[in-house]
């Protein structure tokens, strides 16, 4: 009986060690570190195997994109404000409200096009396989962002450019 228990114990310890080893070899410490810090650029660098040159080029693309993003952001905010004021006002002209809605949707579509072009430029800097994987990750979320952003906002630790 004591040998049975001893064997079970040794097997259990060895199995836990094997489990940890498999966890370790399938883990991505750099990705987890980037996620803990909320550092999107560190995530890009590690998850898409970027070289120094690729990373620098992507940083340059992001910096070039940032002003247009800010401008689009400002325009969307203004469009939302205009629409909301129209909705709140008594006896608002339905045509004007519809027009404000349409303008906002158009702006959002413009933003979606801009960000899509930007991520395609970023993907082009990566290796073909990594670029394909990157686009497969981000493009569906860009298309669905209006629906996805609200519940996921808590995940974003920092905002801005």
């Amino acid at each position: 009986m004591k040998y049975l228990l001893r064997t079970v114990l040794v097997l259990a310890i060895a199995a836990v060690a094997a489990g940890f080893a498999c966890y370790h070899f399938n883990s991505a410490p750099e990705l987890h570190a980037a996620a803990r810090k909320g550092d999107a650029m560190a995530w890009l660098r590690t998850d898409f195997n970027l070289s120094e040159r690729q990373f620098a080029e992507i940083q340059r693309l992001h910096e070039a994109y940032a002003p247009s993003c800010e401008e689009h952001c400002r325009l969307v905010q203004e469009a939302i404000k205009t629409r909301d004021e129209l909705r709140k006002s008594q006896g608002a002209d339905p045509a004007a409200t519809a027009e404000a809605d349409r303008a906002l949707q158009q702006l959002r579509a413009t933003c979606e096009s801009a960000i899509t072009v930007h991520v395609q430029q970023v993907a082009a800097v990566m290796s073909p396989e990594d670029g394909k994987r990157y686009l497969a990750l981000v493009l569906p979320k860009i298309v669905d962002f209006d629906h996805q952003v609200a519940p996921d906002l808590t995940l974003a630790r920092k905002h801005g450019h």
Partner: protein
């Protein structure tokens, strides 16, 4: 004196032991031999090699699979979180909602 010794000899000569036959005797002997063979841990393992080999393969398989699955789930969750965080930084539509 001689007479009593002759009687004893005669009694001993005629004495026959007839024990009842035990059908489990042979099996009991083998059991005892087997128990002596398991006196050490290696001997126990040798005696149960097949059973413990199967148990070890199954246990290591399950442990390895579980470790891998947990690691992959964590990688997937962190990646999803980073994609959202990244897009929130890039997407003016999200910025417009977030900025005061």
């Amino acid at each position: 004196m001689n007479t009593s010794r002759d009687k004893l000899s005669e009694t001993l000569r005629d004495w026959r032991v007839k024990p009842p036959s035990d059908p489990g005797f042979r099996a009991a002997v083998w059991r005892r031999i087997g128990r002596q063979g398991e006196a050490t841990w290696p001997a126990y393992l040798r005696a149960h090699t097949a059973a413990w080999s199967v148990a070890a393969v199954l246990t290591f398989g399950v442990a390895g699979f579980a470790g891998r699955a947990i690691a992959q789930a964590r990688v997937q969750a962190d990646r999803e979180a980073m994609v959202v965080s990244y897009l929130v930084e890039l997407d003016p539509r999200a910025q417009a909602v977030l900025k005061p």
